[in-house]
């Protein structure tokens, strides 16, 4: 349903140009959970912005249900890493969740129901009249997730959503995302730099090279669902997959010493 075809993003022109993305292609099918991992600075956020229609790729195109994405599509909702900047501090939790619903053609009762349902599914019903800054970081990110869910997207894009919360909260939020995915039956594209997280959550993991970025490998994850923070991570398959992705990325991180470590250099690897 979601296709990226040869996405490239180049900032500036001439010899000083920065090639953030060189050639990124992958697809996400309906109902799939796809994680994108890559070394830091490989242009993950740039890629997500192109997919979300917030930025135009220099080359290539993004197709959502066969339609080219040129502006933020209605079927798509975005959860940012930085919840404190993405939530409006002057509005209550209720009004933050209402933001994407106000211009939708819905009755007041329907809006109310959507807000109640989405806040219920992230366990924040009691905090509907609080301000975001009265909540903990993890709770704020749950508000942002509820807001995205209330928008009723077909596909949810998440940009390192749990990078600024503590490890325990992170585990809880990962499970929460898996749960709401079952409940809402949505497709999720999840960008992260955390390899464990990507293998734990995904059906497939798209591993990127460092900048200029291409797709290094797409790793299928056939771990059983529902997943469990302890049991799943103890499985031999999990450990193998994690190790495999780790090696792919570590090779990207080590300094370029031999010809075969240079991606796209034209030399047969």
């Amino acid at each position: 349903m979601l296709e990226t075809k040869g996405i490239a993003k180049i900032y500036g022109t001439g010899p000083k140009a920065t090639h953030a993305l060189e050639d990124v292609s992958f697809t996400v099918t309906d109902g799939e959970f796809v994680c994108v991992v890559g070394p830091s600075g490989c242009g993950k956020t740039t890629l997500l912005k192109c997919i979300a229609g917030l930025m135009r790729p220099t080359r290539g195109e993004v197709l959502l249900r066969g339609k080219r994405v040129v502006e933020p599509p209605e079927e798509l909702a975005l959860v940012f890493q930085d919840y404190s900047r993405s939530l409006m501090p002057w509005s209550t939790v209720r009004n933050n969740v209402l933001l994407p619903l106000r211009h939708k053609r819905l009755s007041t009762a329907e809006r109310k129901a959507l807000v109640a349902e989405s806040l219920g599914s992230v366990g924040l019903t009691r905090f509907i009249d609080h301000y975001p800054w009265q909540l903990s970081g993890g709770m704020q990110q749950r508000v942002a997730i509820a807001r995205a869910l209330a928008y009723q997207p077909a596909i949810l894009l998440m940009d390192e959503p749990f990078a600024s919360v503590d490890a325990q909260t992170r585990g809880d939020l990962e499970d929460l995302v898996l749960r709401v995915r079952e409940q809402y039956g949505i497709t999720i594209l999840f960008v992260t730099h955390d390899i464990d997280e990507s293998v734990y959550l995904a059906d497939r993991v798209v591993v990127l090279t460092h900048s200029p970025t291409t797709v290094k490998e797409i790793v299928g994850v056939s771990l059983p669902r529902p997943r469990d923070q302890i049991a799943t991570k103890e499985l031999a398959d999990f450990i193998n997959l994690r190790g495999h992705v780790y090696r792919l990325i570590r090779r990207e991180l080590t300094p370029v010493t031999s010809v075969d470590a240079v991606p796209n250099s034209g030399t047969p690897v």
């Binding site: 917030l54 798509l76 933001l99 994407p100 211009h103």
Partner: protein, 259 residues
């Protein structure tokens, strides 16, 4: 904690008492003659007497009206214009020269022009107050709108929020702290200029009363009216601080106060 509160109040009261006592002393001891500076007690009793008259309250209301209308006109113009200039690089560049040219003109320099054009009318007082109050508010609004968080704007855009809706749901609220600061600065400027218009152009109000008292050598009255203007400024400050607190109860600077 309690002790700290008590000391705070004590310092507040004592500083006022000390200032008033100092005033009383330098006048009574003749450091500055009572003719040039009437004693504190004389001035306050003069003010008390004036407060029994309708003329005093009328003058006070006229000055307050000049302030309110001047600030109102300034806000009605500066905030929308500031939003436009803050949102559009093109508009900002197009208007930079006229703004930087007009802004440093001292408002008092307009008095002769106003004399010749609008004369001693309420309009001229409002114009003067509004002119002075316009600039700080305009600059604050421009910076406020520019400082809006790009993540907040991207969030709104990704949810299909229109540019116009984003303006009043994201840009304007996030500029409110800047606008509030601008209002505080402009409020003081507007009061000073309303008073100035009355003092130099003879528009009715406290400034005119001060001018008349000076012309007739009524020092006690002169100081009493000056004191009244000070109290008007203080009252405006207290009310606007409370309003600012309410409008910004979500802002980090005010959270400690509300929570």
């Amino acid at each position: 904690m309690r002790l700290r509160r008590i000391t705070d109040v004590l310092i507040f009261v004592l500083s006022i008492v000390a200032a008033l006592a100092f005033w009383e002393a330098i006048s009574r001891t003749g450091v500055i003659s009572e003719k040039d500076l009437p004693a504190m007690s004389t001035t306050f009793s003069e003010l008390w007497d004036l407060m029994q008259t309708g003329t005093f309250w009328h003058a006070l209301l006229q000055t307050a009206r000049g302030w309110a209308l001047g600030l109102g006109v300034a806000a009605a113009l500066a905030i929308p214009i500031g939003i436009v200039l803050g949102s559009s690089d093109f508009a900002a560049r197009a208007f930079r020269v006229p703004i930087e040219f007009l802004r440093p003109i001292p408002s008092a320099a307009l008095i002769p022009v106003l004399f010749l054009t609008l004369g001693t009318t309420l309009q001229s007082e409002i114009f003067l107050a509004a002119f002075g109050a316009f600039w700080p508010l305009l600059i604050q609004t421009i910076y406020g709108v520019r400082d809006v968080d790009p993540v907040a704007l991207d969030t709104a855009r990704s949810f299909g929020v229109s540019t116009f809706e984003g303006l009043y749901r994201i840009k304007l609220p996030s500029a409110v702290p800047y606008i509030a600061t601008g209002m505080r600065i402009s409020s003081g400027v507007a009061l000073i200029l309303a008073f100035t218009a009355e003092l130099f152009m003879g528009n009715p109000g406290l400034g005119q009363k001060v001018n008349v008292a000076q012309a007739f050598g009524l020092e006690n009255q002169l100081y009493a009216y000056a004191l009244a203007t000070g109290f008007l400024g203080l009252a405006i400050h207290v009310v606007s601080t409370a309003a600012e607190r309410r409008a910004l109860r979500w802002h980090p600077s005010q959270r400690a106060v509300t929570a």
